[in-house]
């Protein structure tokens, strides 16, 4: 059964801007799917619609065979934003246990799970620190631990490493793969880094802007478990090239459709 099923989805914002048009996508269990595209292609909007944080204009979104709203009410997914969005007044441990408190877990189970999560993201020993005492990369790991704490079947990530430096980003990519393999969750990952998308994913969904639509889907047939060495593999470069060409094709198409005005708007 597909974890995410999107059929005939359109999103038109109040001002009349068409953010997404004709989106059809199915994401299977244990997949790692990246949504990639230039700014304004609606990839974050699509992620928010899957999470029922905003409503589509037309079309249906199913998560675990239920409407997205029901899936949200059932806490079927965890979400990680570009900023960690940790609560300053809570310690690291208390931040991770926030969703568990809301799901009315008792204190003992909460504490056990928090310890488990601290080990998973390798932050043991930082339980009683406050968020502002951690580095950006550590904060984002807390945010991932919080999203995974209640064991959701689906993890939605909106450019989670976009604000981090390249070194931290590559380390966290490896960690995320390890976490994905350990947790058994299905991942939907928004990014605008081609290398990151190829390195992490089982499938890369390439999107193009104005209006946002899916222009290509590329299956990544690199072996698992992935190590840093894969970044040197010729097949890795081929796939990166394929995604890059798909992205350029998408924006060329965009230029042809919209004429000279759109060309001027390109940076």
């Amino acid at each position: 059964m597909s974890v995410v099923t999107i059929e005939g989805l359109t999103k038109r914002f109040d001002g009349g801007t068409v953010a997404l048009e004709g989106i059809d996508l199915a994401i299977e269990e244990r997949e790692f799917v990246s949504l990639i595209g230039p700014s304004g292609c609606g990839k974050s909007t699509l992620l928010r619609i899957i999470g029922d944080l905003i409503k589509p204009t037309t079309g249906t979104v199913g998560v675990n065979g239920k409407p997205a709203a029901q899936a949200r009410a059932d806490r079927d997914y965890g979400i990680v934003f570009q900023d960690p969005v940790l609560y300053d007044w809570r310690t690291v441990a208390k931040n991770i246990s926030l969703p568990l408190e809301l799901a009315r877990w008792n204190r003992r189970r909460r504490n056990e799970r928090v310890q488990e999560m601290m080990r998973l993201v390798e932050l043991t020993g930082f339980e009683s620190h406050h968020p502002w005492q951690l580095s950006g990369g550590m904060q984002q790991r807390v945010s991932i631990a919080r999203a995974l704490s209640f064991d959701p079947a689906l993890l939605l990530m909106d450019e989670p490493f976009g604000a981090l430096d390249e070194m931290t980003r590559e380390r966290l990519n490896l960690e995320l793969l390890r976490i994905w393999e350990a947790s058994g969750s299905t991942m939907v990952f928004v990014t605008h880094s081609i290398a990151e998308a190829v390195f992490l994913s089982t499938r890369v969904v390439v999107m193009s802007p104005r209006p946002g639509r899916i222009s290509n889907v590329i299956t990544v047939d690199l072996p698992h478990p992935r190590t840093a060495a894969i970044r040197e593999d010729p097949r890795f470069f081929e796939l990166v090239t394929a995604v890059r060409e798909a992205l350029h094709l998408g924006s060329d198409l965009d230029r042809k459709l919209e004429g000279p005005a759109a060309v001027e708007a390109q940076p």
């Binding site: 965890g78 609560y87 007044w89 926030l98 406050h130 951690l134 990369g137």
Partner: protein, 296 residues
Amino acid sequence: MATIAAEQPAGHRRAAATRSAAGRVGMLLLVLAILWGLWEGYRWLWIREGWTWPFVVDSTTMPHIYDILRQLFRNPTSGAGGDILLVQLLHAAWFTAKEALVGFALGASFGFLLGVALSQFRLLQRGLLPYVVASQTVPILAVAPIVVVYLGSLHVAAWFSVAVIASYLTFFPVTINTLRGLQSTDRRALELMRSYAAGRPSVLWKLRIPAALPYIFTALKVSATASIVGAIIGEAPSSIQEGLGGFIVNFNQYYSLNPENLWATNLIAALLGIAFFLVIVIAEKIVVRRAPENVA
């Protein structure tokens, strides 16, 4: 693991804290000395040159600071017996502080609850907020006697009427800032709560209120000093003699004979206000856990 700024050795941190505290006390003394110098310098210059603008300077309009301080250690009622002025004023300050404290507690609680209610019900906010604002345009001097007479007819103790008057000045900043704070919650933090399918009470209790605390404490600082002004003003129409308000009314009548008495009373009232303010600052340090750069 990465090292963290907050994890310096404890000894260094303590030494740094002591240094910064010493620096602050030094700064305070310096500012006091400068203010003292300005007062006496102004006084000296205006008297020497005989300037009369904006007002005539003499020992009645601007007594020497040391005369004011010396007056604290004298008995203001020239007859034998009775305490020195400082002891009398401290008793009065204690009395007023109790009224102000009860008024502050009433006003702050009411103000907070009103702010929460207004934030939760948009219709209530639209209907009620104009009247909340209007309540503060009515001069407290006009409201005070009404409160005293009304509560007096219900056989409520006079000091409690004063506390109610103080609470009238206290609640407004708390309501406005609570409302503002509850409405300025980070959008993504709200989305996060939505993703957890959190109900309105949980969002309020676990996110909106903790996030609004810096706003609320800003209001509490304003209200803490306002509650003392309210208590002092409230004492006049209640004919309460024991508080600072009673002393001010009394010394006002004999100002031309003994201006130092009124100035000394003002000094004690100001110190009481500062003490209230500091209590809130300390409470804020304990309660509000925020990144250092986010503390208002």
